[in-house]
């Protein structure tokens, strides 16, 4: 592995995580669409929503991570991909607006009709977005994105057999992952009817996704032969085998109600497909452009690698916390302790408002002098610090919570 490969590895890990996390989010939307009508359908849709609500934003940021790493480390390739594949990427972007917008809207719904309307919008977006993103990946994998500003064909680069295959596979995979996760959540929450509901769908979607993936090899054989060759007979082969094994394992686990391990094996099957694509295509990024040629200068690569590693050191513990909270229901806390929250202290026990107000005024005057009258960079820095001091001290001096305590009519509050 070379330095110029490392950011791409990060981007692929990001893509795997986006697929298995946000993919399940899209899949949950799809199951909302097929929930049917009647009282059970409401429970199905609520379950699909509640399982994702706390985590969907974090799941979606993986896509932004992939985009930013690729445009920093492989700017020329990114520009070529984004311009040639502008249509599917735009469609995906609009789909993401609807998907996220529906989460914002659901908070305000009050009637079942409104709820169903919003869930339908969500669901349509949940099918379009993974399809469009999969189709874009298909355009890259089948070598239809040449280097250059919109140098490829705007339509056939993503409306071709390989793109359609990968787009459909992406939708099926999303449905499959979501069904497995939702069945696991149903067990955890003690909802046996929903467990049965999603178990059946997990098995069905798993078989469909597997059939599309295997049948798709025939499509690749005729449409993207070199990809097929490298995937089936070349470097991608081990990954393909892992993917098939993981897929079968997942089906067996779901059959036997072992949903928690099935979460991970399902994710592994998806990850292996992406790894297989990467291995099959290596070292070519785009036709005529190797990863080495596409890479940014070393300074940039080193900085981005360090930035990602530092970021990951913050990110993964935070993510672990979020998932532990959501999957575990709580973080080692007994709600009975609520009463200990209020200490009954007043807000401004120690500080004298008059002193605060005068200090705030002094800070403002100092800020005026340092920022406006003086010219040097260091005085400007001092000026900004003083002005922020003015805002903070001024806020404490005004004491808005005490001010609001007074009656709406003429009650006087803390003397300044």
């Amino acid at each position: 592995m070379h330095l110029y490969d490392v950011p791409l590895l990060f981007a692929l890990i990001g893509l795997v995580l986006y697929t298995v996390l946000a993919g399940a989010d899209f899949g949950a939307g799809l199951w909302q669409l097929f929930a049917g009508r009647g009282p059970k359908s409401v429970r199905v849709r609520d379950h699909a929503h509640d399982s994702m609500a706390a985590v969907w934003e974090a799941n979606h940021v993986w896509l932004i991570f992939v985009l930013t790493v690729v445009w920093t480390a492989y700017p020329g390739a990114f520009g070529s991909i984004a311009s040639t594949l502008s249509i599917p990427l735009f469609i995906a972007a609009v789909g993401i607006i609807f998907r996220g917008g529906a989460y914002a809207l659901r908070a305000g719904t009050s009637t079942p009709r409104e709820l169903r309307a919003i869930d339908t919008v969500t669901a349509v977006a949940s099918i379009i977005t993974p399809f469009a993103l999969g189709a874009a990946v298909g355009g890259i994998a089948s070598g239809r994105v040449p280097v250059g500003n919109a140098a490829g064909h705007l339509a056939s680069s993503w409306l071709n057999p390989t793109s359609i295959l990968i787009g459909v596979l992406a939708v099926a995979t999303a449905a499959y992952l979501a069904a497995v996760y939702l069945a696991a959540d149903a067990v955890r929450l003690g909802k046996p009817d929903l467990e049965r509901h999603f178990r059946a769908r997990a098995l069905g979607a798993g078989i469909v996704a597997g059939a599309i993936a295997l049948g798709g090899l025939a499509v690749l054989h005729s449409d993207a032969h070199s990809l097929y060759h490298d995937l089936v007979e070349g470097a991608g082969r081990p990954a393909l085998v892992v993917s098939i094994l993981a897929g079968l394992t997942t089906l067996a686990l779901v059959w036997r109600h072992g949903y928690e391990p099935a979460r991970y094996s399902a994710a592994a099957a998806v990850a292996a497909i992406i790894a297989g694509w990467a291995l099959a295509q290596k070292p070519i990024f785009l036709p005529g452009l190797t990863i080495e040629q596409a890479a940014a200068p070393d300074d940039t690569l080193i900085t981005i690698v360090i930035a990602v590693i530092c970021g990951a050191a913050i990110l993964f513990p935070s993510l672990a916390l979020l998932f532990r909270l959501v999957l575990g229901g709580r973080l080692d806390y007994a709600p009975a302790a609520v009463s200990s929250a209020g200490q009954g202290r007043s807000v401004l026990s120690a500080s004298a408002p008059g002193v605060l107000a005068r200090s705030a005024g002094a800070c403002f005057v100092a800020g005026l002098g340092f920022l406006t009258a003086a010219e040097a960079g260091w005085t400007h820095a001092l000026g900004i610090v003083s002005l922020f001091g003015f805002i903070i001290l001024g806020f404490l001096a005004v004491a808005p919570s005490e001010l609001a305590r007074g009656d709406s009519e003429d009650q006087r509050v803390t003397k300044l």
Binding site: V55, E57, H60, L67, W71, T72, Y74, P75, G76, A77, F78, G79, A82, S86, I87, F90, A93, I96, I97, R99, G100, G101, A104, A107, G108, N149, A150, L154, Q293, A296, P297, T300, T303, I304, A307, G311, L315, S318, L319, L321, L325, V326, G329, S340, A341, G342, Q343, S346, V347, L371, I384, L387, F390, V398, S401, A404, R405, T414, K415, L416
Partner: protein, 464 residues
């Protein structure tokens, strides 16, 4: 030996240099980008400033045990979540557009500025994760742990704006690279983004703007309620906290804005000339209020002699560079920049006056203002602050034209060669119209949920 290596590097680099293409719809592409920013930036303000106000309310609850603060914090949490969700999607659109609309910009300079967005991505991540924890944890975490889970949201709001502004500052004042064969070489991303003298005034200006916009919008909502007779302690608290923040920040913004003006005068004289509408290089240049720039002069404006020189360079006789110092095709559209600037300054001044009036009533009468006119002004101040915010961005971004990277790359050389921009623009405009209606609908619905205040009297025994 070194020569050969350098040559090999250039040869490799030149493979990925994307050639500029002709684009019939450059203006539409720019408008589409501008629309996306105009929708996203007010939401960013809420992402940056609202969590801090929310945390303050929660801190009040922790300190006093007064359930009123908990109720307020929980209701604000719902607003924060809805707006953050919309912010996530509009932000995702922006990152798509970097490639969809400006592939040559990203392809040429991604190695220089991309790091800023990558780190911003992590900030976004942390914000999204802890907002998830904060929201989900209201009844599942101990009060202290819950309060602690809000702190990363406030911090990542700051680091996120630092990163995005660092990229914008670089576009306005580029450094940290060298151009060779149309490709950036000798790239030093850290120096380019954070060693840039142009970063700090932009950052402070925007960060304060976030608090001002959020403060006036939230306070304006409760001011509207007061005009309709909703004025319990709950509403007064919900008004006073954001209003106090905005009232203090708005006068400071006047000073910071003046500092920004001086930095623009130093680094981007053409932008300053467009802001004033100054045709020729002039000593002791005057400043015109209002008016319209046409045929190389300002018609119907009120001239204040020597004020431009004084403000820009602290010297009434200083020489200010005019528009004619650069060729006509390197000048920004003057009236757009001028009108946007005057709008921003006018509104900013008004907001500062509202702030001073509030603080004066607080100091002299030791209560909240009583005049209905004050609350009517507050209702308008919220939307006006958003207008000022967008006007400020129009000033700096249109004022940068025709360059995407100031004096290095033209916007017309950055644009995509793909067709269909008008279709994309129309689609996005429609979708964003829908998003706007949806946000308004959700906020109204959230506001209508009946208050579940504790039965205790408005004067809580523990607090007094």
């Amino acid at each position: 030996m070194r020569c050969e290596a350098a040559f090999a590097m250039t040869a490799i680099a030149s493979i990925v240099a994307l050639a500029p293409v002709h684009q019939d719809y450059l203006l539409e592409a720019r408008q589409m980008q501008a629309l996306s920013f105009a929708v996203h930036i007010p939401l960013v303000c809420f992402g940056v400033a609202f969590p801090a106000m929310l945390m303050f309310v929660e801190w009040l609850y922790l300190r006093t045990g007064d359930e009123l603060y908990r109720t307020l914090a929980k209701r604000w949490t719902k607003v924060m979540v809805a707006l953050f969700a919309v912010g996530v999607i509009t932000g995702t659109i922006l990152s798509f557009e970097m490639g969809l609309l400006w592939p040559n910009f990203t392809a040429t300079f991604g190695s220089v500025f991309g790091l800023g967005f990558a780190v911003e991505g992590f900030s976004f991540f942390v914000e999204a994760i802890f907002i998830g924890i904060y929201v989900y944890g209201w009844d599942r975490l101990s009060p202290r742990a819950h309060f602690a889970s809000g702190i990363p949201i406030v911090i990542s709001g700051f680091t996120g704006s630092l990163m995005v502004i660092s990229v914008n500052a670089w576009m306005n004042h580029p450094s940290g690279f060298r151009l060779s064969g149309g490709q950036a070489v000798d790239v030093h991303p850290l120096a380019a983004l954070f060693g840039n003298s142009y970063l700090w005034h932009e950052l402070v200006h925007m960060y304060l703007a976030a608090y001002i916009v959020t403060g006036f919008l939230v306070a304006g909502a409760y001011a509207f309620g007061r005009l309709r007779g909703r004025w319990g302690r709950y509403e007064r608290t919900a008004l006073a906290i954001p209003l106090t923040v905005a009232a203090l920040a708005a006068p400071v913004q006047v000073l910071v804005g003046d500092w920004n003006g001086r930095e623009v005068a130093r680094a981007q004289p053409t932008k300053l000339a467009a802001i004033e509408g100054l045709p020729g290089t002039t000593s002791g240049a005057s400043l015109h209020l209002l008016g319209w720039y046409t045929d190389g002069e300002i018609k119907y404006g009120i001239a204040i002699p020597k004020l431009l020189s004084l403000l820009a360079f602290h010297d009434p006789n200083a020489t200010v560079q005019g528009l004619e110092a650069v060729p006509a095709d390197e000048r920004p559209p003057v009236n757009i920049v001028r009108v946007a600037f005057q709008t921003m300054v006018g509104i900013g001044t008004l907001l500062a006056l509202i702030g001073v009036a509030y603080l004066a009533v607080r100091v002299r009468r030791k209560r909240l203002p009583k005049s209905r006119w004050f609350y009517r002004a507050l209702v308008i101040a919220g939307p006006l602050s958003v207008v000022a915010l967008i006007s400020g961005w129009v000033t700096t971004e249109v004022g940068r034209q025709p360059w995407v990277v100031y004096e290095v790359m033209r916007t017309s050389d950055a644009v995509t060669g793909a067709g269909g921009i008008p279709v994309g623009y129309a689609t996005l405009a429609l979708v964003y119209l829908g998003v706007g209606i949806a946000v308004a609908w959700v906020l109204r619905r959230l506001a209508r949920v009946p208050l579940e205040l504790p039965a205790s009297p408005p004067h809580s025994p523990v607090g007094d």
